[in-house]
Symmetry: C2
Subunit: 347 residues, 2 copies
């Protein structure tokens, strides 16, 4: 019996209709955003981008975001130590700030764990989280712990600062812009495949891919450098370049081309995974690199002034008119089949 049932016209739980699996992650997110959509004073960027941007007063913009890791969906206990898990949860959340070009200031964390969880494991998660936060100057400002009759959940909120009107936004792309990415693509997805295959007898190269999956690094310095260089369109690559570039094209009302020959991938990835390498490089997520777009004339200066100590920038395609995202074997070349993307949620 639902107590509300007979006294209000509200619906109780589980009254039928399509499930989240029927609807899919994308439609779910769209529907949730539509409900949340209400103009609020000070809220410059609402959900839909990597982070929301809040301007409590002129000149100080805050970027805020929240990201959860769920056992069985985002990780398995047999894959990772608790300490690395804490660091990973923070990196995943911080990547949303990096994708806005924000400087992290604080985080709070909720941990849901079964009562049977080892106390020391939870402390190790906290140690990993705090060490990772400390290394980027982010204060751990509290949070919540809860029992759960189910999997571990680590949900992290992050906040950071942005210069006024100086965010990497997904709605600022223009046809003709070149598309750039930081670092190397496909390593984390390769690591995930190895883990799903059992993760046994790994070569040094394979172990490095597994590390890329288990210990991602948020590209905070790269995001700050992009906005400092005047770049205003971009985001992080959490769900794979294809999906994350599509978010840019949708929000910027344009299309895009990706050029396979320009993608920054390791030769070992191509040799080890053969024809499947584009599925990893642009269909697979969790590299937590950044994608940015900017007008072609500005690209040379950006690349020239790009600090050597940061993850390198590579031009990988172009925004175009229209609405489709095409994968070409090279600029002006043949259209290739769309690489397979993988969503972990509701699919």
């Amino acid at each position: 019996m639902t107590l509300d049932q007979d006294q209000t016209p509200e619906r109780a739980f589980d009254r039928g209709g399509p499930s989240l699996a029927d609807v899919g992650e994308r439609a779910l997110l769209r529907a949730l955003r539509e409900i949340a959509h209400a103009p609020a004073p000070g809220l410059i960027v609402a959900s839909g981008d990597d982070a929301a941007v809040w301007s409590p007063e002129p000149g100080t913009d805050l970027a805020i975001s929240q990201d959860a890791l769920v056992e069985g969906v985002d990780f398995r206990r047999t894959w990772i130590t608790p300490r690395r898990l804490g660091a990973r949860a923070l990196a995943v959340a911080l990547s949303d700030l990096a994708g806005m070009g924000a400087r992290p200031l604080w985080c709070t964390a909720t941990l849901c764990a079964p009562s049977s969880t080892c106390f020391e494991d939870v402390l190790e998660i906290q140690r990993g989280l705090c060490a990772a936060a400390g290394s980027v100057g982010c204060a751990v400002a509290g949070g919540d712990v809860s029992a759960i009759d189910g999997p571990l959940v680590i949900d992290i909120s992050v906040g950071g600062t942005l210069g006024a009107n100086a965010a990497l936004r997904r709605d600022r792309g223009r046809p003709g812009d070149l598309v750039l990415v930081t670092g190397t693509l496909g390593r984390a997805a390769a690591g995930l495949r190895l883990l799903l295959d059992g993760g046994d007898d790994l070569s040094e190269q394979e172990r490095a891919w597994v590390d890329a999956q288990l210990s991602p690094v948020a590209r905070i310095a790269e995001g700050l450098q992009l906005v400092a260089s005047g770049v205003r369109c971009g985001g992080d690559i959490s769900d794979g370049l294809l999906v994350d570039l599509e978010r840019i094209t949708e929000m910027s009302a344009c299309g895009a081309e990706l050029w396979l020959d320009r993608l920054p991938v390791e030769t070992a990835l191509v040799s080890d995974f053969g024809a499947a390498w584009p599925d990893l490089a642009v269909g697979g997520g969790e590299d937590f690199e950044l994608v940015a777009t900017l007008p072609e004339p500005a690209v040379a200066a950006l690349l020239e002034s790009w600090p050597e100590e940061l993850a390198p920038l590579t031009v990988v395609g172009r925004l175009v008119t229209g609405a489709s995202l095409d994968v070409l074997d090279h600029e002006g070349g043949a259209q290739m089949p769309r690489p397979q993307t993988s969503s972990r949620h509701f699919s």
Copy 2:
């Protein structure tokens, strides 16, 4: 096999030792705070209080907090409609801001739900959350959704503003201060008992108690009024007055007396629950009222100027020297047995 196991000295999961249930919530929170404890510029109040306080620049303090509701621990699906659940999750998180005397600005929310969850139920949760946020001028600034092979989890982050040095803190009590609470105590705990007993055939009074459990209201206006009136010590009552006052005495290095005859409880609570009523009124949580302490000479002016439209303030005890929290039948009266407190986590 844990991949880290052989390459690092880190411990894998589940290596034994005491569990969270063995250690208990209080020791867990203390240990987590010790690990997180690192001075951070701008972080004025770290974890341990209701919310952390962040001062990005002089004059503007931000209060931030995060709170999760977990199915099976904090609610059951058969108790509540999805819309009320969304509103409840927000109210619980906002109560931490009320407990600091902060004005809510934004929230973000993570929802973990099994793929089989009805799409419409999730939209209803979001509608409830957004309506509740809108009613207090709080913007819904995004969040995360994740699949989970387990119970529903709704984890909400909230942020708000405080005047400089104008927070209700748990470490500002002094022996001699009177202890005041807002509203009426024990109603939500009574409602929880009725729900756990099946929730059938409820009287109008009982239904009101169930409503108090399912639809709490964060005392935001009361928190703002307290700080505006110069009160500097206080917090919300999420875990019961006994536990939440104990947090004040611990952080303020003093003891306290509670006077049973002064507690604001409904006569129906006393008549319906008999000798167990103090367990509900001071041992039971989730009324989400506020507790504050202030020097006795200032109390009359506070009560006199207290706006009628707010939840009333009642003096219920006093901070004293020492470290014990005693429950007396009346001021200067006999010491009573300590009412039973209930923790939902790791006990």
